[in-house]
């Protein structure tokens, strides 16, 4: 086991790990998009901006108040979720009766406001966020070096993804949620407060993006551009996976991340566009997406 197609195993496994990390972020973000889409029937164009906002909140907490990573991991996603609730209650709520394209344009405007403001105050260059003390260092597995923080990101985001899947597919609250997705009026008749549920769903979706943002902060640099860079790829992932299924969006996110990592090893020039190429192929063969259903 020294070489795979003339590539050193260190390089191969190193890039596979990078792919797995990216895939975890794709999975968290596309999961959030799918949860929001299922309940609100809108595409949240501001998803990348919330991801970026949360990473910045973590960085600001560290530099201004000295609160470290673990505080950020709790506080930043909660703040983003609270902002999401405020946005949904005050503005987004008025757009549900209209063509979903309007809510798409609305959230795009929000994304521009957030990204523009951070660009204005922090410039486009990235800020470094240190890895927390507890997760520093790594292990030599023989065939590759595994940094502890990266292992933590993969394990933790997978746990969050499958926790969310369990909550939606296997619990009573999740059953209400799925029922309200199918027929909101009927669920409301049964005495469940659907508008509150919609707000909480939006908060959950953007909160997941916030969580991804804090997780990403020590790996990538914290920069105003990080949101729009990743979200367009996530949209392609969502088209490939189809937003109909929670599990589908998680699997699509992970596998496309790994595919991207592999492309970096064998044909680096194409690594930026491989997800889009896969999307084009899926559109030709199965336009509804791999796990999607026709609406």
């Amino acid at each position: 086991m020294t070489e795979f197609l003339s590539v050193a195993p260190q390089v191969l496994f190193g890039q596979l790990l990078v792919g797995l990390i990216n895939g975890s972020f794709y999975a968290l973000l596309s999961l959030g998009l799918a949860v929001i889409f299922g309940m609100l029937n809108i595409v949240n164009m501001a998803h990348g901006a919330f991801y970026m906002l949360s990473a910045f909140l973590g960085w600001l907490l560290l530099t201004h108040t000295g609160l470290g990573y673990w505080w950020a991991l709790v506080l930043a996603p909660l703040t983003v979720a609270a902002l999401g609730i405020a946005l949904e209650r005050c503005l987004l709520r008025h757009l549900y009766r209209l063509d979903p394209l309007y809510s798409l344009l609305f959230t795009f405007g929000i994304a521009l406001i957030l990204e523009g403001a951070f660009r204005h105050y922090f410039g486009v260059s990235g800020q470094a966020y240190p890895i927390p003390e507890l997760l520093k260092g790594g292990h030599n597995l023989g065939f590759m070096f595994l940094p502890t923080y990266r292992a933590w990101v993969v394990v933790f985001s997978m746990a969050v993804c499958f926790g969310t899947w369990y909550a939606i597919e296997r619990t009573r609250l999740g059953a209400y949620l799925r029922a309200a997705t199918e027929n909101p009026t009927l669920v409301q008749v049964f005495g469940i407060n659907v508008p509150v549920m919609i707000s909480l769903t939006y908060a959950l979706g953007v909160g997941l993006a916030g969580l991804a943002g804090v997780l990403a902060a020590p790996i990538y640099q914290v920069s105003p551009l990080m949101g729009s860079n990743i979200i367009i790829v996530v949209f392609a992932v969502v088209v490939i996976g189809g937003m109909g299924s929670i599990l589908g969006s998680i699997l699509a996110g992970l596998s496309l991340g790994i595919l991207e990592g592999l492309t970096k090893v064998y044909y680096p020039e194409a690594s930026n566009i491989v997800v889009f190429v896969v999307m084009a192929l899926v559109l030709m063969v199965k336009p509804t997406g791999l796990f999607g259903k026709e609406h």
């Binding site: 309007y102 344009l105 795009f108 930026n272």
Partner: protein
């Protein structure tokens, strides 16, 4: 069917030359012709390029109901091709612009035939993703010059005789392109084909049941829209003598959406009004140092929350409402 034919009659009446209408067209043309003697000509050329871009975009969103989030791909690709063919191949300006426009048409056919397989929000996401692919290609291919773009593009001699290096010559060339583009788009909108597009927008299953091959109509609309977006981009590259990554970025797609939304989707003059406002606002803000992106975002939010029909749409609605009250 009765609704359909009444629309056609209404349309035919409208096409009969009306003295007021002719006067309005003449006045608009005269104003365009004397404008460069009072205002900065390069700014006016920029306005016309973006107005044509927005009109092309509006053909798709306003009349076919398809929201493309990737029109920068056509605008930018055409800019690159026309800049490259003018600078490296030494083609004349009219041929460079034709080459850029043709490239946008082909790209529009490729992206369009993939994107029309999905509808609504998925259509928006597919076009956004595919245009991002074009962006990465522009970033990595050799001929596009990466971060620098293609600079110092020669404007050349139009038909071998007219020196476009002179600002006024360039201005009237751009004005001719804009007016011709606008007239063709207007003609498409008022043609039977345009009526079928509107029928598909209003009720796609019904249009299918009437026997229209919806996919083909949508694809043609997409290709036409991409072609005119390309014409605008190719012209822009010669006006500013540069093609760069800014032209293919997703922000450019967002800007053209805003121009159309602000002016009024599905109105002929809306995109022109919207692009004049957005481009003027941007050049004003560029001097003030205020973050342009934030202002653009705020205008987006205000448009969607308060006046979804856009300025021209709301104004004509108000005018018709007033006329209706007078009649009764």
């Amino acid at each position: 069917m009765s609704i359909h034919s009444s629309v056609m009659v209404d349309d035919r009446e409208r096409r009969v030359a009306h003295p007021g209408r002719i006067a309005a067209w003449g006045l608009a043309l005269a104003l365009l012709a004397i404008a460069p003697f009072f205002l900065y000509p390069v700014f006016l050329m920029k306005l016309m390029c973006f107005a044509l871009f927005a009109c092309a975009f509006n053909l798709l969103i306003g009349y076919a109901g398809l929201l493309s989030f990737g029109h920068a791909a056509f605008f930018g690709a055409a800019a690159y091709i026309s800049a490259h063919s003018a600078k490296v191949w030494g083609l004349s300006p009219e041929l460079s612009i034709l080459a850029g426009t043709a490239c946008a048409a082909v790209l529009g056919w490729i992206i369009g035939s993939l994107a029309i397989r999905r509808q609504g929000i998925y259509f928006a996401m597919v076009t956004l993703a595919l245009s991002q692919m074009v962006y990465f290609l522009a970033l990595q291919l050799k001929f596009t010059g990466g971060e620098d773009g293609i600079q110092n593009v020669p404007r050349g001699m139009l038909f071998g005789v007219l020196d476009l290096g002179k600002t006024l010559n360039m201005y009237f060339f751009v004005m001719a392109i804009f007016v011709i583009g606008f007239v063709i788009i207007r003609r498409v909108v008022h043609s039977p084909y345009g009526q079928i597009l509107k029928a598909i927008r209003e009720n796609e299953p019904r249009a299918i049941s009437l026997g229209y091959q919806v996919e083909r109509y949508k694809l043609l609309a997409f290709v036409l829209s991409a072609t005119f977006a390309g014409l605008a981009g190719a012209t822009k590259a010669l006006v500013f003598q540069v093609a760069s990554l800014i032209d293919v970025q997703w922000q450019m797609s967002g800007e053209v959406i805003l121009m159309t939304l602000l002016g009024g989707m599905g109105t002929l003059l809306g995109p022109v009004v919207g692009s004049v406002l957005v481009v003027s606002l941007e050049s004003y803000l560029a001097e003030s140092g205020f973050p342009v992106m934030v202002v653009i975002g705020v205008v987006f939010v205000i448009c969607v929350m308060l006046f979804r029909k856009g300025i021209v749409g709301e104004a004509s609605g108000w005018w018709e409402g007033r006329a209706g009250r007078k009649a009764s």
